[in-house]
Amino acid sequence: MPGLRLSKAPATDTALKLSAVAVLMFAFVFVVMVPLYNVLCDALGINGKTSGQAYISAPIAVDTSRQVTVQFVAVNNDDMPWSFAPDARVMRVHPGAANGTVFHAANPTNLPMVAQAIPSISPSRAAAYFHKTECFCFDQQALAGNATADMALQFIVDQDLPDDIHTITLSYTLFNITGTAQDRLAAL
């Protein structure tokens, strides 16, 4: 940085500037790398990341010339004993049409628990074309002991889905977050 002197002694001046670089690179990790990763994942559907936000759709013609298979997969993470399964495991839909299904969750233990469902889409390219108009992604779901819940999913497959994608798999992984979501239990 010509012109900006941080110290009269040249070596100290260099050292202070380089220290600033080091600090900036540390900040870079939190302030740039993390958000950039999330932005790129959302934009490019990398890693099948799909946003939790509900999609606001405008009505548009349904493409009846094409069928896309949508497959639902429910996965329990470690520590999660709930039964968790979709109503329909597979749906054949037309791009542009609104569709939906329900996931049933049941807490087999006697204790109240809180779960969080994390979505993931494969192939990752398809994530940008799979719009969820209603979903329970990232919602914290509390269930009393031996209770059940139905969690709805409404979605539309975008007409612009690339031609070479025939099957989209949406998986929900159910995580046990009881330990960190105690406040949710109070609502029960």
Partner: protein, 370 residues
């Protein structure tokens, strides 16, 4: 000592083919595996040629330009022309390599419709396979290492497929595009079968996909390829590719077994039956953490455990639901009612516990239904 010498001899005469002392990648049985193998060989031969030229020049120099031979040193020290040449030529070679590399990679990422989808979940330390079908009983099972501890700890001779054998292999039909959806239950694992050239990381919370089309019937073995904890080396993959007909029969039988399990769950089993089955289940699901003698290890001791010696319902609930925040998984979904009854009975009566308790499958289904 004899082994050392024979090994040394082997080093000199190692055969290029054959499973033992294999020195090269296998082209495997799939088209994409063969393409990958060809690419690997192409790059390797290019490197060999370059190496021979470069080291040839160097060794020649070592020989011909020795001071002890009286060779006088020249003093040339730069040449832009030469620098440009050996920048541009390697660059062009790399560009040439990039073409087949790109086309093979695009094949790996092919998303065309598949005929069979299988969900593969990596657990510490086993795989779970689930055949995704639209309707009917889901076929889903765990695939555990089948090699006995005695072989691992050297009290029994090792079998031919040591560490590469499982109790329940993955069965797929030949000549069918199979899509694998890969995820993990806990930490990152990676599912790899070298002979079908499929490797994909299994990441908890996310789903990855891979595909294969196996033309040849056979048994193909692989391993977990991402460090996932203590028993990372002990969770192999075994794939059986069988004819379409055989596959259809197998999966019908599996669906039937699910029905039979339901029927069995209504029966009353003898103590011996429960203890035998319980010992098997214990070996597959509990032993790694709780010890062959119930002495504990990563997990608590079963021998003398207050839980195991105490209330049956509480014991069952703990095994079914796991213990949050520890390595004790929720086995309720992993074990059938028969297996659960058997392992509970076994734990309560083996290792000196001797409670005399017997848990029947009906008790388990009764508890599950509240």
């Amino acid at each position: 000592m004899g082994r050392v010498f024979s090994t040394a001899a082997l080093a000199l005469f190692a055969p290029l083919a054959g499973a033992e002392n294999q020195v090269n990648m296998s082209p495997g049985v799939t088209e994409i595996g063969a393409n990958i193998f060809e690419l690997h060989m192409l790059i390797m031969w290019i490197c060999v040629v370059i190496g021979v030229l470069v080291f040839g020049a160097m060794f020649y120099s070592i020989y011909a330009h020795r001071q002890s031979k009286g060779h006088q040193a020249s003093q040339f020290h730069e040449s832009t022309r030469v620098e440009v040449a050996w920048t541009v030529v390697p660059f062009l070679i790399l560009v040439a390599m990039a073409f087949p590399a790109t086309s093979t990679l695009l094949e790996v990422y092919d998303n065309d419709a598949s005929e069979l989808d299988i969900l593969i979940t990596g657990y510490q330390w086993k795989w779970k396979y689930e055949y995704l079908d639209e309707s009917g009983e889901t076929v889903s099972f765990f695939s555990n290492l089948a090699t006995p501890q005695e072989e691992i700890y050297n009290t029994r001779n090792k079998g031919e497929n040591y560490l590469l054998e499982v109790d329940e292999p993955l069965v797929i039909p030949t000549n069918t595009k199979v899509r694998f959806l890969i995820t993990a239950n806990d930490v990152i694992h990676s599912w790899w079968v070298p002979e079908i050239a499929v490797k994909r990381d299994a990441i908890p919370g996310f789903i990855n996909e891979a595909w294969t089309r196996v033309p040849e019937e056979g048994i193909y073995r692989g391993q977990c390829t991402e460090l996932c904890g203590a028993y990372h080396g002990f969770m192999p993959v075994e794939v059986h590719a069988v004819s379409r007909d055989d596959f259809d029969n197998w999966i019908a039988a599996k669906r039937g077994i699910a029905a039979v399990q339901t029927a069995l769950a209504e029966q009353t089993l003898s103590v011996d039956e429960l203890m035998d089955q319980g010992k098997r289940v214990y070996g597959a699901a509990c032993l790694a953490c709780h010890g062959a003698g119930g002495e504990g290890g990563v997990g608590k001791a079963i021998a003398g455990s207050p839980v195991v010696l105490g209330d049956i319902a509480a014991h069952m609930a703990l095994v079914a639901n796991g213990v949050s925040g520890t390595a004790m998984q929720a086995f309720g979904a992993q074990l059938s009612a028969v297996d659960m009854a058997a392992v509970l009975t076994y734990q309560r009566n083996a290792f000196g516990n001797n409670t005399g308790d017997v848990v029947q499958p009906g008790d388990v289904t009764g508890a599950k239904n509240g």
